[in-house]
C-alpha cells in the first residue's frame, strides 16, 4: 500500500515538476541528416551568442535602473508607526477533504469558500458554520485551480484535465452538480490558475503550456490569448483598476508579466526573482503587485516606477512561498510557505510582524476574505483554516488562592497588563478587565 502511494506521488509529481523551456528541449534532440547537423551547430552558436548579448543588455538595464535606486521604501516609511508583534489565531478549521488541498477562493458574500484538492474533489463550504454545502468530484486528479463566480452561483475549476469547467451551484439536493458541468477552457497542458473577471460570463486561465487565455463562458469561445512566458504560467491576478483591463501573471521563467486583456499585449515585465513565481497578487490600489516565489522571497513591484520596490525575506526562511495576499489596507502581506508556516510582513517597513504555525504540511493556498475580516489557508495536511488577528492573549495561572491574569496586548501602543487577585474575582469584575478576549 505504501509503495503504491509512493508510485502515485511520483507519477503525479512529474507534470508538476515539468518546468523547463519547451523550445530548448526540442532543440536538444539531434537530427539524423548531416547537413542539418551543421546547421544546428550554427544555430546553436547563434543562440548562445544572442543569449549572452541579452544577458549583457539586461545587466546594463539593471545598472541604469540601480542608478536611480538610491532611496528605499522603508526609508520613506520611517516616520510611520511600527506595528509591533501580531498574534494570529485559527478561528475555523475545515475538515472534509481526503487529500492535499491545492486551491481555494472566497465568495463575494464574505463567508463561503470553494476549495479543490488532489483527489479531484471540489467542495463549497460555508466557512462561518463550517458546513459543507456542495461537493463535486472532478474526473481528474490534482485540481490546481478553482474560483468562485462573482454572483455566487457557480464555481470554476480545473487541473490535470487541461480544462477549466464551470459548475452552476444548484440547491436541489437531488441534483447531481456534475451533470450541469460546462467545459469552458481548453489548454494543451495542466491548468494552474483560473479567475472570473467582473462577471460570470468570462474566465481568465493560466496553464502549464505557457499561455494565459480569456474565455467566454456561454459559448466556450477563446476571446484572447496571451503569449510571452517562456515556461509554465503558475498564477494570475486581475487588476482592481478603474478601467479593469489588465492582469498580471507569474511563471516558471521567473518573470511576472502585466497584460492588456483587450489587445493581448504584454505591457510590462519584471524579472528579479531567482526561481519560479508561484503566486501574484495586486496591491489594493492596483498600482503595484506582490509575488511569492520558490526562492523563499516575496517581492513588491510598482507599475508606475516600473521596478521592484521591496523584498520580503529573512535568513531563517529557506522554503518557497506558495501563495501571497494583502490585507485590505495593503499594510500587511500574508505569505503561505512550504515549511508549513504563514509569515505576515509589514509591507512598508519590510519587517515580519507575525508567524503562524498550525498546519501539518505545506501551505498551498492563501486568500484574504473580500471584506478583509479574516484570511483562509489551504494545506497539504487536507485542511483549510480561517485565521485572524488576536487582540489579547490571556494567560491564567492558578496558584492555590492566587490567580494571576496576564494580558499581552497585540496592539503596539498598549502596555502589558497584569492583574493578581487573592481570590477568584467575581464575574462583573472580570468583565471590566477582560477586553477583546481570545
Amino acid at each position: 500500500m505504501f509503495y503504491l502511494d509512493f508510485l502515485i506521488v511520483i507519477l503525479c509529481f512529474k507534470p508538476f515538476r515539468c518546468r523547463s523551456l519547451p523550445a530548448q528541449r526540442k532543440y536538444m534532440r539531434s537530427p539524423l541528416i548531416p547537413e542539418m547537423a551543421t546547421q544546428e551547430v550554427q544555430l546553436n552558436e547563434t543562440l548562445a551568442h544572442l543569449k549572452t548579448e541579452s544577458e549583457t543588455l539586461k545587466s546594463k538595464l539593471e545598472e541604469e535602473r540601480a542608478k536611480l535606486h538610491d532611496v528605499e521604501l522603508h526609508q520613506v516609511a520611517e516616520k510611520v508607526e511600527g506595528l509591533g508583534q501580531f498574534v494570529m489565531k485559527t478561528r475555523r478549521t475545515l475538515k472534509g477533504h481526503g487529500n492535499k488541498v491545492l486551491c481555494m477562493d472566497w465568495c463575494k458574500d464574505k463567508r463561503r469558500i470553494v476549495s479543490s484538492s488532489q483527489d479531484g474533489k471540489v467542495i463549497v463550504w460555508d466557512a462561518f458554520t463550517t458546513n459543507k454545502e456542495h461537493a463535486v468530484t472532478m474526473p481528474c486528479t490534482w485540481v490546481m485551480a478553482c474560483a468562485y463566480a462573482p454572483s455566487g452561483c457557480a464555481v470554476a475549476c480545473g487541473g490535470l484535465d487541461n480544462k477549466c469547467s464551470v459548475y452552476p451551484l444548484s440547491l436541489d439536493k437531488n441534483e447531481n452538480l456534475a451533470a450541469k458541468k460546462k467545459s469552458v477552457a481548453m489548454h494543451t497542458n495542466y491548468l494552474s490558475a483560473c479567475s472570473f473577471t467582473n462577471s460570470d460570463m468570462q474566465i481568465l486561465t493560466s496553464s502549464g503550456d505557457g499561455t494565459c487565455a480569456l474565455w467566454d463562458v456561454e459559448s466556450g469561445q477563446l476571446l484572447q490569448s496571451f503569449h510571452g512566458h517562456a515556461a509554465d504560467v503558475l498564477c494570475l491576478d486581475l487588476a482592481p483598476s478603474e478601467t479593469g483591463n489588465t492582469f498580471v501573471s507569474g511563471g516558471c521563467d521567473k518573470k511576472a508579466n502585466v497584460w492588456d486583456m483587450r489587445s493581448g499585449q504584454c505591457i510590462q515585465s519584471f524579472e528579479t526573482h531567482e526561481s519560479d513565481i508561484n503566486s501574484v497578487r495586486y496591491y489594493p490600489s492596483g498600482d503595484a503587485f506582490a509575488s511569492g516565489s520558490d526562492d523563499a522571497t516575496c517581492r513588491l513591484y510598482d507599475l508606475r516606477a516600473d521596478r521592484e520596490v521591496a523584498i520580503y525575506s529573512k535568513e531563517s526562511i529557506i522554503f518557497g512561498v506558495s501563495s501571497v495576499d494583502f490585507s485590505l489596507s495593503g499594510r500587511l502581506l500574508f505569505g503561505g510557505y512550504n515549511d508549513y508556516t504563514i509569515n505576515v510582513w509589514d509591507v512598508l517597513k519590510g519587517t515580519r510582524v507575525s508567524i503562524l504555525f498550525g498546519h501539518e504540511n505545506r501551505v498551498s493556498t492563501l486568500r484574504v476574505s473580500p471584506d478583509g475580516t479574516a484570511f483562509s489557508t489551504g494545506s497539504w495536511d487536507h485542511t483549510l483554516r480561517v485565521c485572524d488577528d488576536c487582540y489579547f492573549f490571556i494567560g491564567i495561572k492558578y496558584n492555590q488562592n492566587l490567580c494571576t491574569f496576564n494580558f499581552t496586548p497585540c496592539a503596539p501602543d498598549k502596555p502589558p497588563l497584569s492583574l493578581t487577585a487573592t481570590h477568584l474575582p467575581k464575574y462583573s469584575n472580570l468583565k471590566k478587565h477582560i477586553y477583546r478576549s481570545t
Binding site: 467566454d216 516606477a305 489596507s329
Partner: protein, 411 residues
C-alpha cells in the same frame, strides 16, 4: 492613482519640512522647469494646489537622442497636421533636416510608426503621452519671446545636472503614495484595527455583515467615508452607486451613469447578447433625439457610431471611458460637496463595540445564511414577471438585477 497638485504640495511639505507657501514655490519651479507636467491645460505650466493631475517627466539623456527626439516630434506634428508647424518650429525642422539628412528616412519612418502605435493606445494613455511631449518641448524649445528657463548664462565646468536626483525623487514620491494609501485605509482594515461591532469570525456574531449589507436603510459611517476615497469606491458599492444616481437625477445628468452601466453590461455580459445590447444603447443614448442622449465629443461619437456597424465587446470602450472621466472630474467632486452626501454621512451609524463574553468556551450559535445561488433563482423569477416594461427602463432594470445578484452580500 495619478499624483494631484495637492498631493505634490503635501509631499514637498513633508519631505522638506517647509511651509505651504514655500512648497508652492518649489513645486511651481519644478513645473516650470519641466520636471513635473500637468495633464489638464498642458500649455499652462503652473502647479495648482488642487485635484489637477500631474505626472513626472521622463528623463531624456544623451544629446544625440535629443536631436532625434526633437526631429521625430516635429515630424509627427508635421504629418499629423499638415503645415501647422509654427514659424520657429519650421526653422528648427529645416536645420535638423540638414543635420541628419543621412538618416532622414529612418526618422520619418519612426515618426509614422509612433503615430500609428499611439492610435492603438487607449485614449487616456495617448493624452498623457501627448501632454508629456508637449510640456517637454515647450520648455526645451520655448517659442520666441518666451522666457527660456533653461538659460544658465555662461557655461561653467561644474554644470552638474539635478536631473538624476529628481528622477529618484519620483521613486520617493511613489513610496510616499504607498504610505498615504495605507494610512487612508487603516481604519477600514479589520485585521489591523478590528471592526465594529465585532469581527464575526471571533465573536460568532454576524452583526457586522448585516449592518454592511446591500439593502440597509442606514449605512455605517466607515462605508460612507469610503465613498469619498475615490470614484471607483463609490461605484463599486451598490448603495453608493444608488445614492450617486439619486444625486445625478437631481442634476439632470443621470443618463451618464445609466450609459456607463449599460456599457459595463456589454463588456462583461454574454457574447450572444452583445449585438442586441449595443443596439439598445444606440437607441437610448446615442441616436440623435434619443430619450437619454449622452454628451460625448464629436470625435469619439463618430468613432463609436462607426464601430456600432460591426458591434463587438469593446466597441463602447472609448465612449464609456469618456463618460466615466466626465463623471469623475465633474459630478463626483460636486456630489461629495453636496447636501445629499453630507446628510448621508451625518446620519450614518457608528456601531457600538460588543464586549466579548468572559468565558471563551461559551460559544454563540453560528447561524447559516441563504446561499447566493438561491437568491439568484428568485431574482430570475422576478425578472420574468417584469418583461412588459418600457424599453427605456429595461436596460437599467436588468443591469440592476444583475448587479444586485453579483454583488449581494447576505448575512
Amino acid at each position: 492613482m495619478l499624483p494631484k497638485g495637492r498631493d505634490i504640495i503635501d509631499w514637498l511639505i513633508q519631505k522638506y519640512n517647509v511651509s505651504e507657501e514655500e512648497s508652492l514655490h518649489v513645486g511651481g519651479m519644478l513645473v516650470k522647469y519641466g520636471y513635473i507636467y500637468p495633464l489638464k491645460e498642458p500649455r499652462s505650466l503652473v502647479l495648482r494646489p488642487d485635484e489637477s493631475p500631474y505626472r513626472f517627466q521622463v528623463s531624456r539623456s544623451s544629446p544625440i537622442q535629443y536631436v532625434y527626439l526633437d526631429t521625430i516630434y516635429l515630424a509627427k506634428k508635421n504629418i499629423r497636421k499638415q503645415g501647422e508647424l509654427m514659424e520657429y518650429e519650421k526653422e528648427r525642422y529645416s536645420v535638423l533636416h540638414k543635420r541628419i539628412n543621412h538618416t532622414w528616412d529612418f526618422v520619418v519612418m519612426q515618426a509614422r510608426e509612433q503615430l500609428r502605435a499611439s492610435k492603438q493606445r487607449r485614449k487616456a494613455d495617448r493624452i498623457v503621452l501627448e501632454c508629456q511631449e508637449q510640456a517637454y518641448w515647450l520648455i526645451n524649445r520655448p517659442p520666441p519671446g518666451v522666457h527660456n528657463v533653461l538659460d544658465v548664462g555662461l557655461e561653467r565646468p561644474n554644470n552638474f545636472s539635478a536631473r538624476v536626483t529628481l528622477v529618484s525623487g519620483f521613486i520617493a514620491f511613489i513610496y510616499f503614495l504607498f504610505v498615504k494609501y495605507s494610512e487612508q485605509y487603516l481604519n477600514h482594515d479589520p485585521i489591523m484595527q478590528g471592526c465594529l461591532p465585532s469581527n464575526p469570525w471571533i465573536s460568532d456574531d454576524t452583526a457586522h455583515w448585516t449592518m454592511n449589507a446591500d439593502m440597509v436603510p442606514t449605512p455605517t459611517r466607515l462605508r460612507v467615508e469610503r465613498w469619498s476615497f475615490s470614484f471607483m469606491e463609490l461605484l463599486e458599492d451598490s448603495m453608493g452607486r444608488r445614492e450617486f444616481m439619486t444625486y445625478l437625477e437631481k442634476e439632470f445628468s443621470a443618463e451618464n451613469l445609466c450609459f456607463w452601466q449599460a456599457c459595463e453590461d456589454v463588456r462583461h455580459g454574454e457574447s450572444s447578447r452583445i449585438v442586441e445590447k449595443v443596439e439598445d444603447i444606440y437607441k437610448n443614448f446615442l441616436a440623435p433625439g434619443a430619450a437619454r442622449w449622452v454628451n460625448i465629443d464629436s470625435k469619439t461619437m463618430d468613432k463609436t457610431l462607426e464601430g456600432i456597424r460591426h458591434p463587438h465587446r469593446f466597441v463602447m470602450d472609448d465612449a464609456q471611458m469618456h463618460i466615466y472621466f466626465l463623471m469623475k472630474k465633474d459630478s463626483y467632486p460636486r456630489y461629495l460637496k453636496s447636501d445629499l452626501y453630507k446628510n448621508m454621512l451625518a446620519k450614518a451609524i457608528v456601531p457600538q463595540e460588543t464586549k466579548k463574553s468572559v468565558f471563551p468556551f461559551m460559544r454563540r450559535q453560528r447561524h447559516s445564511s441563504p446561499s447566493p445561488a438561491q437568491a439568484a433563482t428568485q431574482a430570475e423569477d422576478g425578472q420574468a414577471k417584469g418583461a412588459g416594461q418600457a424599453d427605456i427602463d429595461r436596460i437599467f432594470v436588468i443591469t440592476e438585477i444583475n448587479r444586485r445578484t453579483q454583488l449581494r452580500c447576505l448575512s
